[in-house]
């Protein structure tokens, strides 16, 4: 065991963890909106809209995240037309490509989580709202969405942790996130176990925090 290396690499890895957290938080926020939008589309009665939303979640859940990043980062740059639009400012940056891929990916999973949450809301609750003369818009925003969010907290907590692990793929498109820096240190020092312990420890610590925050929220918003 090379403890000196472990101590020396700790601040570097901690700095890299900040990038991991940035990637994670931006992707989650964007992904949540995408997820909500597609969950609502899934519940639409129009077959085409419904099928479109299902197709989106099927494709993004059925292919590896690595393929998605590569298509966006290496693939989209190939389209001449895109290069001439303002989108190119975003798509030439690996940082934004990674975030687009992560957000679309987590959006697909989130839409499934929210859809099943919407579907498990008891019809009686909505009927109660209707009989009180509340408009369907307000029923949706004030009754269905809050209940669905509460219902989906445990599953969404898992999704956050999966996404945190997913951000490690940013290192494949040259970003120096926690895994990227860990790989760099491993490949220059050839001490994989030491670096794994430190980097893995940081990841586990973040998992631990996320897990407990979700648990706290679950308790806070429990029905009883």
């Amino acid at each position: 065991m090379d403890f000196e290396l472990m101590i020396n690499s700790f601040p570097k890895l901690l700095n890299a963890a900040v990038i991991t957290l940035k990637l994670l938080s931006v992707s989650l926020i964007v992904g949540l909106f995408i997820g909500l939008l597609f969950a609502i589309l899934r519940l639409n009665k129009n077959v085409f809209i419904n099928k479109f939303a299902y197709g989106y979640s099927y494709i993004f859940r059925g292919t590896p995240l690595l393929v998605q990043i590569f298509i966006i980062y290496f693939g989209l740059g190939q389209i001449e037309y895109l290069r001439s639009t303002f989108l190119w400012v975003i798509l030439k940056e690996p940082y934004w490509c990674a975030i687009i891929a992560f957000a679309l990916n987590t959006g697909a999973y989130t839409s499934e989580i929210l859809r099943s949450a919407f579907q498990t809301i008891k019809p009686g609750i909505i009927e109660a709202g209707q009989s009180l003369g509340i408009s369907s818009k307000i029923i949706f925003y004030k009754i269905q969405i809050p209940i669905a969010i509460r219902q989906s907290l445990p599953a969404y907590g898992n999704e956050i942790i999966l996404m945190m692990k997913g951000t490690s793929l940013a290192s494949t498109v040259t970003l120096m996130d926690l895994t990227g820096v860990a790989k760099y240190i491993i490949s220059t020092t050839f001490k994989p176990i030491e670096v794994f312990i430190v980097a893995g420890g940081i990841y586990l610590f973040m998992t631990f925090i996320i897990h407990n925050v979700i648990k706290f929220l679950e308790k806070k918003y429990s029905f009883n």
Binding site: Y58, I59, G62, T63, P64, L65, L66, V67, Q68, F70, I71, F74, G75, L76, Q78, I79, I161, M164, K165, G166, T167, S168, L169, S171, T172, T179, A182, K183, I186, S187, F190, P192, I193, F196, A199, G200, Y203, L204, T207, F208
Partner: protein, 230 residues
């Protein structure tokens, strides 16, 4: 379309072989995962706190750390560890283990952590009365496991194992960083030499979709088979 031609002119046969490689790695990883689950599930269900702790550390660490980091650990640390063991037996030459074995082990350990949780859940949801009945009938521990626990566990575990399979199948794409020529690596090579990444990565996505789709069909059949009588 000529990009996908078989033979020297296109990438069809290469991609076909790469797809077979992905399937082979996925199945190997899944089986390695089952062996890990075979060790750690009993530990999780054991009466002894210390054994529980060992199993909990395994599943918590593996499920809380990115797959890519585990792969790097095995990729850079694998041959070192083997050489260390070999040196204890007096063998000091350089040993290189191939990417297939390193990759399958890395993904296998990850898949094993998920399988352990699935099996634990499945065994715990078997009605306790069944075990008592087995005891009353005087079945041996061995017979109890093979005739009562295992068949019921499989039925309960299959839906969740199909999730583990999906995760494992998708995780194998990460082995491409170690140079094993599976779908992702082959697409990378083809994209590099034809300068057409959009086409090849999209095609890779289609291949993965096909694999997940076909395996779901197969697993659904298994599910029906093991749910006979319910």
């Amino acid at each position: 379309m000529e990009l996908l031609a078989f033979g020297d002119t296109g990438w069809g046969d290469e991609l076909f072989r790469a797809t077979l490689m992905t399937i082979a790695v996925s199945i190997t990883s899944m089986l390695i995962g089952f062996s890990f689950a075979g060790i750690f599930t009993p530990l999780k269900l054991s009466k002894f706190k210390s054994l529980n702790l060992v199993a909990n550390i395994y599943t918590t660490v593996i499920r809380g750390v990115p797959e890519l980091l585990v792969i790097y650990l095995f990729f850079f640390g694998g041959s070192g560890a083997i050489m260390f063991v070999a040196s204890m037996f007096g063998y000091n030459e350089y040993i290189e283990i191939n990417a297939f074995i390193t990759g399958s082990f890395a993904i296998g350990i990850i898949s094993g952590a998920y399988s352990t949780e699935v099996f634990r859940g499945a065994i715990q949801s078997i009605d306790k009365g069944q075990f008592e009945a087995a005891k009353v009938l005087g079945l041996s521990k061995f017979a109890q496991f093979y005739k009562i626990t295992l068949p019921q566990m499989l039925r309960l575990a299959i839906p969740n194992l199909s999730n583990v399979w999906q995760i494992t199948l998708k995780d194998t794409s990460l082995i491409s960083v170690t140079g094993l020529v599976e779908i992702m690596r082959q697409s990378y090579i083809a994209a590099g030499s034809t300068r057409d990444p959009l086409f090849f990565y999209s095609f890779a996505a289609v291949l993965y979709l096909l694999l997940t789709f076909l395996s779901m069909k197969l697993i659904n059949k298994l599910e029906v088979k093991y749910s006979r009588g319910y």
